[in-house]
Amino acid sequence: MEEILNNIYQMTAFSDIIAANGTYLVMYLLAFVLLYLGIVKHFEPLLLIPIAFGVLIANFPGGDMGVYQADEAGRIVNAEGKVLAENIWEMSLPQIAHDLGLMNFLYYMLIKTGFLPPVIFMGVGALTDFGPMLRNLRLSIFGAAAQMGIFAVLIIAVASGQFNIKEAASLGIIGGADGPTAIFTTIKLAPHLLAPIAIAAYSYMALVPVIIPLVVKLTCSEKELRINMKEQDKLFPPTNKMKNEKVIKIIFPIAVTTIVALLVPSAVSLIGMLMFGNLLKEIGSDTGRLFDTISNSIMNTATVFLGLCVGATMTVQAFLNWTTIGIVVGGFFAFGLSIASGICMVKITNLFSKKKINPLIGATGLSAVPMASRVCNEISTKYDPKNHVLNYCMSSNVSGVIGSAVAAGVLISFLQNMTL
């Protein structure tokens, strides 16, 4: 009887969970906190809930739902030191599914190949309107300034000695505030850090309503936040009004793809897909069915699998270490510095320009479209209920997506083939 009970106990997950001295409980707690933020607080629920559930199901011993990270030679060793695969790159996908479980099959097919981030970018492009950017082209430059956090944290991380330059670049890209870009860059440069970087990137994106007001409070005065963009437009009317917006919006994605492809070819997989999705949207009824598919079915499917797979990479072995804590802290600095850099650039511009710009437009230079713009609009209307800056913020916000993809392209092209 005792033996039967012992066998039943060994069969359940309890034996391993208790033997692991509470480390699994930390992961469950993390999963529950993320689920709470997604379900109750509505912080990016479409992403946080799949990620959180992925974390939960990946951390039940014996469930085979956690993703194993292979070393550079493709060798996979589990926590007990048992070799699960000698070279995963030589294994077929059905073999991966059979030997390592369903989640590893999905991860190595969809994420490790770099397939899902560009697909998500395609969906993001279909949901993006470049109209506000084209109407306020001058403001788009703040999307470049806000990439400063990426490179500043890259230097800090390298100087700390805890990260090599490839890992530091993957950490810095969190400052781009763009989940797919962060994942894409990390897959290329430091795939073993994918779990903490993805979770930090998406968590900080979800916390945009908290982080932006904090940085704005530290860096902007009330007088600056009261700058009314519409009144400035009346005083200094914009010179480039569009007479045929539809045609411009169709040509724009084609032209931008061509230019970026020529200058930074490594960013084409992101920018190209972003602009392709946008082109299908702008063409209208002729490509309506394709637009509908990529903005709904494909985007939603990709989001579900991306979220689950990223969550499943957060196993006890991969997550509970000092590197992860370094990434969480560094990611926060990257995010904050990006917002502050955008604001500083606006302040510098205001010193030399008669037409004043509300610094909130610089704060939206990081990606996180459109949440960053919505948050900044709320801040400005708090000081002046008539001062709606949403459309102006969207200009730098959308250009920030292009900026972070270009920054990722630079990092990848410089570091991907570097031997350490």
Partner: protein
């Protein structure tokens, strides 16, 4: 090793920020060029003409209908609300 990495990181800072600024500046001027070219050679779409149908729509609402809408608004808002404008929406 760390010194080399810091040197590499500084190099990336300069190259990365210059590239991002350059690409976005090109995108900005490309956008301006596009707007100028389309405005010059294909300025078909006009925005200002859409006001007339709305004004016409108000004329088509007869006094009885207006009285019913007024009464409904008054009922719902407890006498506090009033109708400022009635527009017929396009189907």
């Amino acid at each position: 090793m760390i010194t080399n990495d810091i040197y590499g990181a500084l190099q990336l800072l300069v190259v990365g920020m210059v590239t991002v600024f350059l690409v976005l500046l090109i995108v900005i001027y490309l956008g301006k060029l596009l707007i100028w070219a389309v405005n010059k050679w294909a300025p078909e779409e006009t925005v200002a003409k859409k006001v007339a149908p709305a004004a016409k729509a108000i004329d088509t609402i007869d006094a009885n209908t207006k009285a019913v809408i007024d009464a409904a608004i008054s009922q719902i808002t407890g006498g506090k609300g009033r109708v400022a404008k009635i527009e017929k929406l396009k189907n």
